[in-house]
Symmetry: C2
Subunit: 109 residues, 2 copies
Amino acid sequence: MATAAAAPDPSRAAELFHALSDETRLGIVRRLQNGEQCVCNLTDLLDAAQSRLSFHLRVLKDAGLVHDRREGRWIHYHLSRKAFSELEALVGDLTPTSRRLTVREVSCC
Amino acid sequence: MATAAAAPDPSRAAELFHALSDETRLGIVRRLQNGEQCVCNLTDLLDAAQSRLSFHLRVLKDAGLVHDRREGRWIHYHLSRKAFSELEALVGDLTPTSRRLTVREVSCC
DNA sequence: CAAATCCGTCAACGTTTCTTGATTCGCCCA
DNA sequence: TGGGCGAATCAAGAAACGTTGACGGATTTG
């Protein structure tokens, strides 16, 4: 246990949080909670241009938060459970209660 | 229970995620996990210009993730437990396992 | 094969975000 | 009261981001 399990890759954390820092992408995630959706359904549900959605889906996909599956002409997107549990673990590590010094441990300047 | 407790304010969620989508700010949060720190300590720990840190601390503060406390010439920052539990709840709501339809519930195009 | 449909990619543009250095504000102490 | 120090704020520029419309690739259907 060389480096402990304390600080997960910060750039990975930033990537995940960035992927979720946009309302359109949060809207996509919420629509995918009920199961798979193809892009054409999402454009209707979110009232967004196809090109715009494609852009945001790529950000989510690059972050590993969604996966896609081709079925004929359609491409279905669904959430990645693994990525979301990774996210939960990551948020848990950030929480102040996780580890805490005794107060007055640190001097100032 | 009119609108249930399903979809929390999306702009609030985006604000929280955005505040954590930067490596410098994640570094600040990690340094604050051990307790309060004044800005001058953080500039040393993170090797960042004072002006730069002040900018990122403001983003975190505006998102409610940190609070500050003045003590003489120094200003100490610390994490907001409330905001982090809000974040945890929010991430939990995003998770795909939370609610799930029976499959094939949704038709495509 | 040709037309239609679904969707990713690209270039261009405006907007937002981040960094840097200079300045200002607040507080303490001699 | 004046000087010194910690920290916020401001303006300017660079970089990253999101939107739009045009285009091209893949697939199905007539």
